[in-house]
């Protein structure tokens, strides 16, 4: 069971170039809106034709521009759940499900039984005669999923399945979807712009940026050690500085390596050899720590900063600071610190810190992410 995709399509102002392979797993495709995620799914399903490339599922070629193979979407029958669910508005729930089954089950009696069974499994019993517009968002999603699963696809593709819903319902549906996905044996592609969803649901992830896909990585590795700026941004990291290996400090100590954070005007120890081709470093907001009182003797990467803004979030405090040594005073090179409210309260009282004051912060070497552009 595996899906192989290597396609290119030119849209004039935008160029799609995706390449990945997925096994019997849930693979996430993570990217900002408009990066070509949905288009990739449509190319795989066969409703949009790529300019060049290959698509194969389980050894069967669906598309091969060199050999002139291009199976119709009807022949591929990939299970594609659209963002808006795409239920047929003129048909009842039951008819919607029957329509999907039409192509695989000719025996009407068997089809009816299968539909009834699926309706029960998806908690839809009693809604047979309802029209899609009479259903809630969650019910619509269940109908759409049931309609797809009735056709027994070997590939399931979910395009931002929760984007049409909000808050509480989103979470509830995610739980339901997880149960369904666990029972599905085959490849699942899960497209989302939410790193949290991807992290919770997927096994591996492929990051897309401006139409290009990055190499597939296990989901945990992608979040803990992102390799590129785009992946790092999508993983939720908020502090970046242009950077280069620091040759001045490299010779001095053998086992550690240093990096020059150009925007912040400091050199930082990063606990590992710095590759030559890095262009940027990232540090997560939670990993920049305030130092109160004396600076400990063993403290590494201490930076002197000035408080620029203090913002109260729902559960956290966000403190924006700028490095004293920074070359520019632009917002872009400010650092963002995030901490629980009580922690900030304690610090504030002890140091009587306010906007404009100088403070000391430290970053643990292992928390510095070395990134390629």
């Amino acid at each position: 069971m595996s899906l192989y995709v290597d396609i290119e399509k030119d849209f004039g102002s935008f160029r799609l170039s995706t390449r990945f392979e997925a096994g019997e797993e849930i693979m996430g495709i993570l990217g900002a809106s408009g990066c070509g995620k949905s288009m990739t799914l449509r190319c795989i399903a066969g409703v949009v034709k790529p300019d060049r490339g290959k698509i194969r599922l389980d050894g069967i070629t669906w598309f091969d521009s060199e050999k002139g193979i291009d199976l119709t979407p009807q022949k591929r029958r990939a299970g594609l759940l659209f963002q808006n669910y795409a239920l047929f508005p003129n048909m009842t729930v039951e008819k919607n499900l029957m329509a999907g089954l039409k192509a695989v089950e000719k025996d009407r009696k068997k089809a009816r039984a299968a539909v009834a069974e699926m309706m029960e499994r998806f908690y839809l019993t009693g809604l047979e005669k309802h029209r899609p517009s009479q259903l809630s968002g969650g019910q619509q999603q269940r109908v759409a999923l049931a309609r797809i699963l009735l056709t027994k696809p070997r590939l399931l593709m979910l395009d931002e399945p929760f984007s049409a819903l909000d808050g509480y319902l989103r979470w509830k549906l995610e739980m339901e979807l997880m149960d369904i996905l666990r029972e599905f044996s085959g490849t699942t592609l899960f497209v989302s712009h939410s790193r949290d969803e991807i992290y919770r649901i997927c096994d591996s992830v492929c990051v897309m940026d401006k139409g290009r896909s990055a190499p597939v990585a296990p989901v945990k590795a992608m979040f803990e050690e992102p390799k590129t700026v785009a992946a790092c941004m999508l993983s939720g990291c908020k502090n970046y500085s242009a950077a280069q290996p620091d040759p001045g400090k490299r010779g001095r100590e053998q086992e550690t390596a240093w990096v020059r954070a150009i925007d912040w005007g400091v050199s930082l120890e990063c606990g590992q050899r710095v590759p030559e081709d890095i262009s940027c470093i990232g540090v997560r907001s939670h990993y920049i720590h305030l130092i109160s009182g004396e600076i400990p003797a063993d403290a590494q990467n201490v930076m002197e900063c000035r408080i620029r803004r203090i913002v109260e979030d729902v559960f956290n405090m966000v403190v924006m600071v700028s490095s004293i040594n920074a070359q520019s005073d632009s917002h872009n090179v400010w650092l963002r610190l995030e901490m629980p409210k009580e922690q900030w309260k304690a610090y504030e009282e002890q140091e009587s810190a306010k906007v404009g004051d100088k403070i000391m912060v430290r970053i643990h070497p292992k928390d510095i992410l070395l990134l390629k552009s």
């Binding site: 047929f88 517009s133 056709t151």
Partner: protein
């Protein structure tokens, strides 16, 4: 009173709106898929009959279908029938004039159709024919219905091109509109008024039907 104009008008309008219904829908569907330049050119050509004076349309039709003109002569030779100055000449005139109404409203309806419905149908394995008739058409029925009724009403009221192509022969090519003009011209105002009333009534019934159908659709859609 001679009821022939009513009968003739209705059959001309019905037949031409059936022709226009299918040709308009298929033109709208396929032209939407063409590239921009070709689409733009075809669009202008197909919409012209709507904005040209009907007499100009009639002139063009005569150039094509007239007894000594290419198409007209071909039909005369092959089937021994003439295309002008007969009752069915009105069909050609009405169809050409009503076509843009059907074409444009159907195109508008198709353009607002959510293409993901067709896509999901395809990925579910449904044939393109099924998707067209059972998903696309029902979703666009409001616009298509409106187009059909408008083109019927337009075909019923056609005068200019019809009078050039079919002329006015009582009991042969007379329609309501040509009859009204003829009666007025010959100072038969009372009879002309009767036909005017009949025409207004038919048109009002047609429009009422559309409104009722639309309300019913809207209720079903909820």
């Amino acid at each position: 009173m001679d009821w022939y104009p009513l009968y003739n008008s209705l059959r001309i309008a019905l037949i031409s709106s059936v022709i226009v219904f299918f040709t308009g829908i298929f033109a709208a569907y396929y032209i939407a898929r063409l590239n921009r330049v070709v689409k733009g050119i075809l669009d202008v050509i197909l919409t012209l009959p709507m904005v040209l004076p009907p007499t100009v349309v009639g002139y063009f039709l005569l150039l094509l279908l007239g007894a000594r003109r290419p198409v007209g002569m071909w039909f005369q030779e092959q089937f021994g029938i003439k295309l002008v100055m007969t009752w069915y000449s009105g069909i050609f005139a009405s169809a050409v004039v009503a076509f843009p109404l059907m074409y444009r409203t159907a195109r508008g309806a198709f353009e607002s159709f959510d293409e993901t419905l067709a896509y999901s149908g395809q990925t579910l394995g449904l044939s393109n024919t099924y998707i067209f008739w059972r998903i696309r058409m029902p979703a666009c029925r409001q616009g298509i219905l409106a187009g059909a009724v408008l083109s019927f009403a337009r075909a019923l009221g056609e005068y200019g091109a019809t009078s050039m192509l079919a002329g006015y022969t009582p009991g042969k090519t007379a329609t309501i509109s040509t009859t009204v003009y003829q009666l007025w011209r010959t100072d038969n105002e009372a009879l002309a008024f009767q036909w005017v009333v009949i025409n207004v009534m038919i048109s009002a019934v047609v429009l009422l039907t559309v409104n009722m159908l639309e309300r019913k659709n809207r209720k079903e859609g909820r």
